[in-house]
């Protein structure tokens, strides 16, 4: 993905952070906020503008789980695998999603619609097990609900 405004976008981010020490992670956060992931072109541009070797940038990107190197699916399905959700049956939900969408953790469906992500504790353990799709939170989800949740979002796309 090459965006025309890339140089400019990165410039704006760098401008904001350039006087702060240890700014690399914050710059990458801003880049990811803008694109949904950190495209290679953007990483190159950050390297040029901050005058930091590309290897240093990937050293950081690959250490932290939060940074994504590939574009997210249209709908990001996050299944919580924190302790509370684990105990209340999250593994079965992951099984079901795998089974229904033919994706593994960290993969996007062939049609680019759904991306399966496993996260640790969304901070609402009282509602376990929890799934979020885009920013919608589903709580106390049962295995049988998964198909409905997926259908809800697939049909949105048909309407659109």
């Amino acid at each position: 993905m090459v965006v025309e405004t890339l140089v400019e976008d990165v410039f704006k981010v760098v401008e904001r952070w350039k006087d702060k020490r240890g700014n690399l992670i914050m710059v990458l956060h801003d880049v990811q906020d803008r694109y949904g992931y950190v495209p290679r072109e953007a990483a190159l541009e950050v390297s040029r503008q901050l005058d930091v070797p590309l290897a240093r940038i990937y050293e950081v990107l690959t250490f932290y789980n939060y940074f994504k190197l590939t574009p997210p699916g249209k709908f990001n399905i996050s299944v919580c695998l924190g302790t509370a959700c684990y105990l209340k049956g999250a593994p079965a939900l992951i099984d079901e999603i795998r089974h229904l969408l033919h994706v593994e953790e960290g993969q996007t469906t062939k049609d680019g619609l759904f991306h399966l992500q496993i996260v640790r504790c969304l901070g609402c353990c009282g509602l376990a097990p929890v799934i979020t799709v885009k920013h919608k939170v589903y709580s106390a989800v049962k295995r049988g609900d998964v198909a409905k949740i997926i259908a809800e979002h697939s049909s949105q796309k048909v309407e659109a």
Binding site: V60, C121, L127
Partner: protein, 577 residues
Amino acid sequence: MKQILIQDTNGNLRKELRDFHVALTTQLRDWGLADAAQVVTVADIGIYQKGIVAKVLPEGFVYVGLEVKHVPEIIEKTIQHGEKIASLAFEKKNKQLRLVLRNCGRIDPENFNDYVANDGYQGLVKALEMGPERVIEEMKKSGLRGRGGAGFPTWMKWNITRAVPGEVKYIICNGDEGDPGAYMDRSVLEGDPNSVIEGLMIGGLAIGASQGVFYIRAEYPLAIERIQKAINECYARGLLGQNILGSNFNFDIEIRLGAGAFVCGEETALISSVEGLRGYPRPRPPFPSVRGLWEKPTAINNVETLATVPYILFHGGEAFGKIGIEGSTGTKVFALTGKVRNSGLVEVPMGITLREVVFDIGGGVLNNRAIKAIQTGGPSGGVIPEQFFDTPIGYESLQKLGSIMGSGGMIVLDENDCMVDISKFYLGFCVDESCGKCAPCRIGGTQMLAILKRISDGKGVDDDLKKLNEIAMAMQKASLCGLGQTAPNPVLSTLKYFEAEYKAHVVDKKCASGKCVKLVSYSIIKDKCTGCGMCGRVCPAIAITGSRADKYSINTEKCVSCGQCFDVCKFGAVVRQ
């Protein structure tokens, strides 16, 4: 003016909540009362699984199970006449004591003046009058110990950092909250951001720092937003910057974000991360108090610790020290979750028993099942079986039982939870999150996990339990940071109390709870089968075939032991062995 706070815990009552919110605001307007009451959405009032919850201020009435149809009555009785509606009111037996959560759910976290009106920044005013030495003295009297896990006395940490010579010092708020299954810090950051900022400022004053840093996990966007907003307000009002409140104290704060690495909650790894590097821990000593961020003396404190500080300064260390028990003073916030009826955040005085927390506050076990154990301290902690539930909660008492206070995760396990599975879960988490820098943690963790997997797959061998103990010991002794040193704890404590269960897995190849799928098999009792075919329909492996006349049966070769047929059969025809 009255305020009506509506609890929005981000749950699935979204639509109902919105409808209620809309009904309330429009009807208030229709009654001409738009200026008499303000409707505010808040993250947490502290009551869960009771439908829509709202609180009316200043009276403090809490209403639960609300619906749109209740709106007129609320407006008429409570807003117009200040009367309590008994049928909606929530009354609780109060074993909780809310100091840290004193404002959460009571004030509008985005309204600076609300915080100020509730004694906000009064602790700072006192601290400025007292000066650093007396602040530390007051903290000593309070007996406050760090709430982030290790329980190091806060006054001592500040005193050491203060004593190290140097012009430039830093204080960092650790808002990384790594324990998967706990969200105390998130609630405080979101629900009362100013209290943490005030605590950070007082800490800065005490150690002689003029720069504070919030390190918050990126997964908490609302917390970040609210802290940033509160910081901006402080600058606008001269509470941050130069010559704060006319004194010679200068203090600035900035926010740095975590990026999804558990190890960054460890203080030296956190420092690496703030410096823009991989979150690798560093050998200690030198401790951060001596050489921390940018090699300068640095104090790192947990969110809950800092939120407690303004309270101590305002009410006095002695008063705070009277709460709780010897050696563990004050209150602790726990995220009570798992198989408990009322899941949620609780804040209790130290010294209360585990039983009181789980049964009196938490309402006991979900579905009336038998309780098996309570897990505290997350991946660095351990399990506590029922015979010790009357132990008063304190740093030392929990440690004696082989667990830790930790940052406040408290998870209830019932008879359907398998201890081998639990320790596999926690250890798997630590192996995933190990930064890989030191060998004991990287290799030891992987090996222990391999053994646990083998045991839960029914391939455990005789000396596996001995080996687990040996590797655990090596990890505890030789790992570089707290992650590796504590990662074996969940395994060791389950082994200590539930050895028989491990043995059942290793010797008899049995998992009583049915969690270890390779150790259970399913079959269908022909006589009970009605031939409805539900089991066949849910089977993901197409292992179940049959017809109404012939009844159904499971092909054990194809069966993946997922247990869905077992769950779906209404006639008890599917059995688990």
